[in-house]
């Protein structure tokens, strides 16, 4: 066979679409270690999100408002259904629950500082309430979790709101795992567990088993806090219509709906990538549930899970949410995965922007660690300032978009202000495909 013939017969090497590089790498890793991958962060694959929606700015049939001159309100009241002291936030963007233990005390303090500067709330997590966070948070939401780590009535009464965590977007139905290497003396003391062991967080609450029980549980918490403190229920997005209806029935003042792009400190990758539904697809069924019960805007809906910019905020509000929550984005604003630590990320076998082994406690940015020398890298004042700046940018962007749609309050955005770029997004968000009046799956088509 001649050289020419050999070249003619040769084909280019081609990788399997099913067994792509990431898949092959994971198979090799599993075979070598004998354990599924546990990591932080959220979903890493592309899925329908707010980029698949567009806002319809005003032209002839709508009348826009003047940017920088005409007012566009952003305030929101959360928890007014039963609680005598609802939260009055300046912006419709909250900081989602992230635990002390997973995060350093400095990071928790920075979250409190940033949220307070922006006039909004931050949230505790597994691990309880730290003095740093309480001290710097004007509004602090106290998570009431299945593990009940760090739970005590004094902190419950010190909270501005209580968030009963039933599910999390990254892992609805799953518990958590804080690996032993992050269990410092202080974390162990707060969680009342031995130092250095893996701390499992239960996937279900220990003293109630269903919606009827939960209603009684909520009333107990109300009794303990003299009906002053709003009670939120946080659910992972999976069956939002039914879960929201039951949450309302159980007596929630507000509902936190967390989509599958939401972050987590540490859980199985297979869980992160394969359980739950994207936030884009979860909001409309949740809003529908509230509307069917006549409770839309009465039981506030906070949505989270992949919120990144003011466009995401405006679109989530247009779909019917009262506020959004941010977690991963807040960590990035503090300094997480910052390229300034690139050399150290490289030493850990990764790169800035990809670091997700938060459970190992080696975070070069000093945010998801309990190692003192790393923790000191994060200045809580400066990081808090960065978070406040970011929150204000999100708000300004959402206001700008709302004004363009002719709205004098961000809550006046509505589904009618949206169209979709793809059929999938149109069906999930229940808005028309751009240039058509077609909503896949809607009655009449």
């Amino acid at each position: 066979m001649t050289e020419h013939q050999r070249n003619w017969l040769a084909t280019e090497p081609r990788k399997s679409a099913t067994f792509d590089d990431a898949t092959l790498s994971e198979i090799r890793r599993a075979a070598a270690t004998g354990i599924y991958d546990i990591r932080g962060g959220g979903s890493k694959r592309r899925m329908p999100n707010f980029d698949d929606l567009l806002l319809l700015g005003a032209s002839m049939s709508r009348y826009p408002l003047e940017g920088y001159r005409e007012k566009c309100g952003t305030e929101v009241v959360i928890g007014s259904r039963f609680a005598s002291k609802p939260l009055k936030l300046a912006i419709p963007i909250t900081i989602s629950g992230m635990s002390f233990g997973s995060l350093s005390a400095n990071a928790k303090e920075a979250l409190g500082r940033g949220a307070s500067l922006a006039g909004t709330s931050t949230t505790t997590g597994d691990g309880g309430m730290t003095p740093e966070e309480r001290g710097q948070s004007k509004y602090l939401v106290y998570q009431y979790l299945p593990s009940r780590y760090g739970m005590n009535p004094d902190d419950l009464r010190r909270a501005d709101a209580i968030e009963i965590v039933i599910g999390q977007g990254a892992k609805p139905g799953g518990g958590g795992m804080l690996l032993g290497q992050k269990i410092s003396d202080r974390v162990a003391q707060m969680r009342q567990l031995p130092k250095g062991i893996d701390q499992r967080s239960a996937c279900r609450h220990p003293d109630w088993t269903g919606a009827d029980d939960l209603e009684v549980k909520i009333n107990e918490l109300r009794e303990i806090t003299d009906w002053e403190t709003p009670i939120y229920l946080k659910i992972g997005a999976s069956r939002p219509y039914f879960d929201v209806q039951l949450a309302v029935k159980s007596g929630a003042d507000a509902i936190v709906l967390d989509g599958m792009q939401g972050g987590t400190a540490a859980t199985q990758e297979v869980f992160i990538e394969h359980v739950g539904i994207p936030l884009l697809s979860a909001i409309r069924p949740a809003v529908q549930a509230l509307q069917d019960l006549g409770m839309h805007r009465k039981v506030q809906l906070i949505v989270s899970g992949g919120i990144r910019n003011g466009g995401d905020v405006a679109k989530a509000l247009a779909l019917g949410a009262d506020a959004v929550g941010i977690g991963t984005a807040a960590l990035v604003a503090l300094g997480d995965n910052d390229p300034r630590w690139e050399a150290e990320y490289n030493k850990l076998g990764t790169t800035a922007g990809c670091y997700d082994d938060w459970h190992e406690g080696k975070d070069p940015a000093g945010i998801t660690t309990q190692t003192p020398e790393l923790m000191q890298r994060l200045d809580p004042v400066a990081a808090g300032r960065r978070l406040a700046n970011y929150l204000k940018v999100l708000t300004l962007e959402a206001q700008t978009l709302a004004r363009a749609c002719g709205k004098n309050h961000v809550h006046n955005l509505e589904p009618e202000d949206l169209v979709a770029l793809t059929m999938e997004a149109a069906a999930m968000a229940r808005v028309p495909l751009a240039g058509t009046n077609w909503i896949p799956g809607a009655p009449g088509f």
């Binding site: 270690t33 004998g34 354990i35 593990s147 009940r148 739970m151 005590n152 009535p153 419950l156 009464r157 795992m177 690996l179 032993g180 009342q192 567990l193 031995p194 062991i197 893996d198 499992r200 239960a202 220990p206 003293d207 109630w208 029980d213 009684v216 549980k217 009333n219 107990e220 009794e223 303990i224 806090t225 003299d226 009906w227």
Partner: protein, 229 residues
């Protein structure tokens, strides 16, 4: 002595009155009549008082109790003494499921039986049950002591951390990572103190009890232990 008749006064008003009490209150003895199985009676107390409840109570009675001595002259519904921090709760009848759940301190004494998940996720509470307990009791028990005079249901101490369990009767089955352990002198002394605190020190022989606790094999994940989960 304050007397509250729940046939005439709401649980809300009762709890509001109890929450106003400070550490130096003179109103240290309260009696509650006609509880009628109401939920959330005497929850969130933060003062060293005694509350005598004449009858059966519903869910979460004495929840998150601090300092108070609560006596229930009847049976208790789900989650009695949940997350209590200190003090003492004495149920003279039976207790439903999740008694003393996540409790951090104090003593919960049940004269009768306790149902499933007794002491679930206990974190420092002492629980003494004179009757039997149901399945999954002391599940993920982190700390504290559970004493059972009668029988224990299935999966006792499943995924247990450092809670101590003493059972006099048969155990249907042990949960993941829970094993029977040797009763040494310090355990006999510990059990004796608990029995004394429960008013049973002179009636029961500690030698009749067997001790259970964590094998500590599941404290750090290892794939070779996957079958145990």
């Amino acid at each position: 002595m304050p007397h509250v008749d729940l046939a005439e006064t709401s649980v809300r008003d009762l709890n509001l009155a109890l929450h106003k009490l400070g550490a130096d209150t003179n109103e240290t003895l309260w009696s509650i009549a006609n509880p009628g199985g109401e939920h959330s009676i005497a929850v969130g107390i933060n003062a060293p008082i005694t509350v005598n409840i004449a009858g059966n109570v519903g869910y979460f009675c004495g929840g998150m109790n601090k300092y108070a001595n609560i006596v229930i002259d009847g049976s208790a519904g789900q989650g009695v003494g949940e997350n209590m921090m200190s003090g003492r709760i004495h149920v003279k009848g039976d207790a439903s499921q999740s008694a003393g759940a996540t409790g951090r301190g104090g003593l919960l004494l049940v004269e009768g039986n306790a149902s499933a998940r007794c002491g679930i996720s206990m974190k420092g509470i002492d629980i003494v049950v004179k009757g039997d307990i149901g399945h999954l009791s002391a599940f993920m028990g982190q700390n504290g002591r559970l004493v059972v005079f009668g029988e224990a249901g299935e999966a006792l101490g499943d995924s247990i951390y450092e809670a101590h369990i003493y059972v006099r009767g048969p155990v249907a089955s042990l949960g993941a990572d829970c094993i029977e352990k040797e009763m040494r002198d310090e355990h006999r002394a510990e059990l004796g103190e608990l029995l004394k605190a429960a008013g049973e020190g002179h009636k029961v022989d500690v030698a009749e009890f067997r001790r259970y606790g964590s094998a500590r094999k599941l404290y750090n994940f290892n794939i070779d232990n996957a079958g145990a989960y």
